[in-house]
């Protein structure tokens, strides 16, 4: 009992805003992720992602992120072709973890709920059955899938000049629900990355205060 009272007080302190003369609403900022765009440019999958963040007293930052995830992969070894293109959405909140909240730089900790509904085209070229030698192959179009996941976020945001900020974030992703249609599994999930093993991800953001 004696231990739980300080713990509860610490929790209340974490969620409580600092009392000072700074107003609650401090404006919006928009950002664009360069990592996903770089992935898109350098590989055969990636995503364009932007975000709108609300600044509440430089402490709490409700955020909506949206992006377009795309993949078009033709595997040289297996011959499997996989393509998808779909929007995804993330909603969550960040907290500024620095003691001095109103400075030009911020250290964020936050959570996101993310969702995408996507369709995939999968095909493999015809090949002979290894025993029977019958010509074999398959192609499936518009297989409807969906994916829900959570992200824990740690990030930094540094003011460069004027309204321009730069920042990066590291994200730990955890799938909470999914549907892969009737094809077994999918490969690239828009916004999440490669199916299954992509637990960690990152962003590098160009941020503009508006």
């Amino acid at each position: 009992m004696l231990l739980t009272v300080p713990a509860a007080q610490a929790q209340m302190k974490f969620f409580k805003m600092q009392k000072d003369s700074i107003p609650l609403f401090r404006g919006f900022s928009v950002s664009f992720d360069l990592v996903g765009a770089g992935q898109m440019a350098l590989s055969d999958y990636g995503q364009y992602e932007g975000a709108l963040r609300i600044n509440l007293h430089d402490e709490w930052f409700p955020i909506v992120e949206a992006g377009l995830g795309k993949a078009s992969h033709d595997d040289e070894v297996t011959g499997m072709c996989y393509s998808t293109s779909a929007l995804y959405f993330k909603i969550g909140v960040d907290k500024n973890l620095l003691k001095f909240k109103h400075g030009p730089n911020r250290l964020y900790g936050g959570l996101r709920y993310a969702f995408t509904s996507y369709k995939v085209d999968i095909s493999c070229p015809e090949f002979p059955d290894p025993v029977w030698q019958w010509p074999t192959g398959y192609g499936m179009n518009d297989v409807a899938c969906n994916y829900h996941w959570l992200e824990a976020v740690i990030g930094v945001d540094a003011k460069v000049f004027g309204p321009l900020h730069l920042g990066w974030s590291v994200r730990y992703k955890r799938r909470i629900a999914h549907s892969d249609g009737e094809i077994g599994k999918t490969w690239y999930v828009p916004g999440f990355g490669i199916y299954g093993d992509t637990r960690l991800g990152g962003t590098f953001n160009v941020i503009i205060d508006i």
């Binding site: 595997d75 059955d129 025993v131 398959y138 990066w168 490969w187 991800g201 990152g202």
Partner: protein
């Protein structure tokens, strides 16, 4: 700041993906012998099974199986019916039975790194009755699970 950069680089390196094909990626059907009392039966005669390929030639898919109560056979990827020729023999006799296995083929995708595979749903089995008394589909679903028994075979001679 240096420590933070080091941590960030380490996490990025740790996030590199790997090839995720299942270790057991063969799709086979498993057959078990049973006697008329429903007990598992070890076949003491020699069993060889061949199949008819697309070009009409034979291919042996089980060679000289002796003293086993079960065996596994491959399944054609996308042909609606497999024809299997069972040859049971010992020093004094040789008997042939033909088995026709009908199935639906279900394309299965694992990853672009993995070769194409097919799961199956067994729909019907029929056979001649020289050595085999009956074959029953126990589990119609054929996938990567190699421990599932799909067919029970009841031979006419059970010893």
């Amino acid at each position: 700041m240096r420590k933070l950069t080091f941590c960030f680089c380490s996490i990025l390196l740790a996030a590199c993906s790997s090839i995720d094909c299942p270790v057991n990626n063969t799709v086979t059907t498993r057959y078990c012998f049973y006697n008329t009392d429903g007990d598992s039966l070890v076949l003491m005669d020699t069993l060889t099974i061949s199949t008819v390929r697309q070009d009409g030639t034979d291919s042996i898919i089980l060679n000289r199986n002796v003293g086993k109560a079960s065996f596994s056979l491959p399944v054609s990827y996308s042909h609606p019916e497999d024809i299997l020729v069972f040859n049971v023999y010992n020093k004094t006799m040789s008997v042939f039975d033909t088995v026709w296995v009908k199935k639906d083929d279900i394309p299965h995708f694992e990853s672009v790194d993995c070769n194409a595979s097919f799961f199956h749903r067994l729909t019907d089995v029929r056979h001649t009755k020289h050595f085999i008394d009956s074959i029953v589909i126990k589990n119609p679903s054929v996938d990567y699970d190699k421990n599932t028994t799909h067919f029970y075979i009841y031979p006419k001679v059970s010893d």
